[in-house]
Every structure is written in structure tokens, then in C-alpha cells.
């Protein structure tokens, strides 16, 4: 059958996937990306064979962290010289490079063996939506996001906010704490 070799190409071909990291948890999405990078979404998967796919990730700049992990998550580095140890919080690392946090998340979620460098080379990270043509041209499908992207309060119109069902009104003597505006202080000093 001449048709068989086409089936073989189709089975072993590397497909390219797109993942939108906007408002997604980097650590949980890294687990999902690793499934595609390792090839665990194919029935012919084997841990020693290199059958993974390419994944293009966009909007890594707008990645979202749970709780206060932006302040508390520490990324450590050691140059192996005396006094060469250093650590940076997640937000500082993110400021330095917008793709670094997702890269490190995928790196730690990937299998710890000699296939890891090749797996990481198949991951293409972009901070914004502009991707080079030679890379976006290969992409054929989209990976579903793990979280629902929340709608910001600014995007609701005043009418929609008013029409939102309200159960009760606050009593008049109820005091709601409001933080003072910081901009005024700066102007005074």
C-alpha cells in the first residue's frame, strides 16, 4: 500500500501548537505544555523516544500568579564562586525578562533526563502577540487555556454595573475603609 508511508509521516510529524498565556497560572500551565512537548498526548508515546511537538506561547508578559507569589516566590542563582549566591523575587525576575518565569516553570516541570534540553528547544516563548512569520506560519492548532480569563471591572459599562443584582444596601452608619490616595502625599513632599 502506497498509502501507508503517508500514515507514517502523519503519525511522526511534529505539529505546532499555540498557547495564550494571558492571565494563566505559569506552574499549572507548564504541566499542560509539558504534555505536548514530551508527546504524552500521542498514543505512541514512549519516554525514551523523541516524539514531542512544538509549542508557541504568546502573552507571557501577562502571566498571572496566585495569592502573593509575585512577592514571595524566590528564584535562586549560584555562580559557584564565593559570595556568588543570589536570589530574586518573581516580580523582579519578570521585570528583567518577561519570558523567564514561564521558561523556568516548564524547565522544572519537564522530565529530569537528557531529553530535557531538546524539549526546551521546542518551546517558543513571546512576551506579546507579535510572533515572527516563519514561526506562526507553522502553527496549526490551539491548546485550550487552563483558566477562564477574567473580565476586568473597567470593561463593564456604568449601566451594566447598575443593573447588577443587588441583595441589600449598606446601612448609613457602616464605615467602609478607604485607602488614602498616595499621589497627593508625593505632591506635598
Amino acid at each position: 500500500m502506497a498509502h501507508n508511508r503517508v500514515i507514517q509521516w502523519g503519525a511522526m510529524a511534529r505539529t505546532w501548537w499555540l498557547y495564550d498565556a494571558k492571565f494563566q497560572c505559569p506552574y499549572r500551565s507548564a504541566e499542560k505544555l509539558c504534555m505536548y512537548l514530551e508527546g504524552r498526548h500521542k498514543p505512541l508515546y514512549h519516554p525514551l523516544s523523541d516524539v514531542g511537538d512544538h509549542v508557541v506561547v504568546i502573552n507571557t508578559r501577562y502571566v498571572a500568579m496566585a495569592e502573593d507569589l509575585w512577592r514571595k516566590q524566590q528564584y535562586k542563582h549560584d555562580t559557584r564562586y564565593a559570595g556568588g549566591k543570589s536570589s530574586a523575587t518573581a516580580w523582579r525576575l519578570h521585570e528583567a525578562d518577561y519570558t523567564k518565569i514561564l521558561y523556568k516553570a516548564v524547565y522544572s516541570a519537564a522530565p529530569k533526563n537528557l531529553l530535557r534540553p531538546t524539549i526546551m528547544r521546542r518551546l517558543h516563548l513571546y512576551p506579546e502577540e507579535d510572533v515572527p512569520d516563519d514561526i506562526i506560519g507553522n502553527v496549526s492548532d490551539v491548546i485550550r487555556q487552563i483558566q477562564v480569563v477574567p473580565k476586568p471591572l473597567d470593561s463593564y459599562s456604568a449601566q451594566e454595573i447598575e443593573e447588577f443584582p443587588k441583595l441589600f444596601d449598606w446601612p448609613e452608619d457602616h464605615v467602609i475603609y478607604k485607602r488614602k490616595a498616595t499621589t497627593e502625599k508625593k505632591e506635598e513632599s
Partner: protein, 171 residues
């Protein structure tokens, strides 16, 4: 003087106070042990296969390595079949656990290994099994909402937008 050496050797064994160990016990002879070492260590190079004390240590280690992973072999294979079956179910938007339980309910006795092999070598046969489970779950009316869409049917709005933007910028 061949005769004298024979007598000397014979007297050494016969007039000994304590008998040699290998005479008493039923151990294999020294020569056979050495042959075993040579046989196992034939693939090694240099002193590893020529010297006794290094060679026998290497041999013992090699024999230990040869049976080390047999205990966890079936466990690892089970894990592999499970991941393969999960991938095969994902292609059709089916949950693996629900798939296996409902196959067992309808008395289709196929294990993970044979199902994973079916998914690789006879994908259409596997698809019919998945469709059977989906149809049965719809008839019963249980779990029918949890069964998702097949893979490759995600909304591709974002991809089309980016491709359109890149085309407009390049042209």
C-alpha cells in the same frame, strides 16, 4: 626431577595437620570459579577481566545489575500503558477512568495494554469502542455532560487574529 616434586606435593597434602577447606565442603572448584569470572568478565578490558579480585567484584555487580529492574518492570509498563491510553482517550475527548469503568460494566474485558495497542495499531477499532461508550452514556443519561469535545476542536480565534496581523504587517 619430576618424581621428587610429585613426592613433595603429595607429602604436602597428606601430612597436613588441618585438612584443606575444599576437600571438606561441596564448593565448586577454584578453577571453575575462575572460569565463571572469565566468562562473565570477557566483555571488560584490562585488569577487570584478568585479575581475580577485581574481576570477581565486577562479576558480582554485573549479576546483581542483571536482575535489579525486574521487580519494577511490570509497574513501569503499567504506567506507560496508562499514559498511552490517556492520550488515546484525549484524542476522542473521553475520560480514561470513565471509559474503563463503563467498558467493564458492559462486559468488554480488555485491559489497558490491549487497549493502548489497539489505539496505536487499530485506531478505528479504538474509536468504535469510544463511540460505544459515549452512546451508552447518553442512553443512560449519566455523565453525558462531562464528556468533552475531541482534541483539535478548540476555538481558533486567537490564532486567526495573529496570522491576520502578521500577514497585514508583512504585506
Amino acid at each position: 626431577m619430576v618424581f621428587l616434586t610429585f613426592v613433595r606435593n603429595a607429602s604436602r597434602y597428606t601430612f597436613r595437620g588441618v585438612q584443606r577447606k575444599y576437600v571438606e565442603t561441596s564448593e565448586p572448584s577454584r578453577l571453575m570459579k575462575r572460569h565463571q569470572m572469565k566468562r562473565v568478565g570477557a566483555k571488560y578490558y584490562g585488569r577487570l577481566r584478568n585479575c581475580w579480585i577485581i574481576g570477581v567484584n565486577i562479576m558480582n555487580k554485573a549479576l546483581r545489575y542483571s536482575t535489579r529492574d525486574t521487580a519494577c518492570k511490570s509497574e513501569k509498563l503499567d504506567k506507560l500503558y496508562s499514559t498511552r491510553l490517556e492520550a488515546a482517550c484525549l484524542e476522542h475527548g473521553m475520560d480514561q477512568k470513565y471509559f474503563l469503568t463503563s467498558l467493564a460494566e458492559f462486559d468488554i474485558n480488555l485491559n489497558r495494554e490491549s487497549l493502548a495497542n489497539l489505539a496505536i495499531y487499530e485506531p478505528r477499532t479504538f474509536q468504535t469502542l469510544v463511540e460505544f461508550v459515549k452512546k451508552r452514556s447518553l442512553e443512560i443519561g449519566l455523565q453525558s455532560k462531562t464528556l468533552g469535545a475531541p482534541m483539535g476542536l478548540e476555538p481558533r480565534g486567537i490564532l486567526e487574529e495573529i496570522k491576520k496581523a502578521s500577514n497585514s504587517s508583512s504585506s
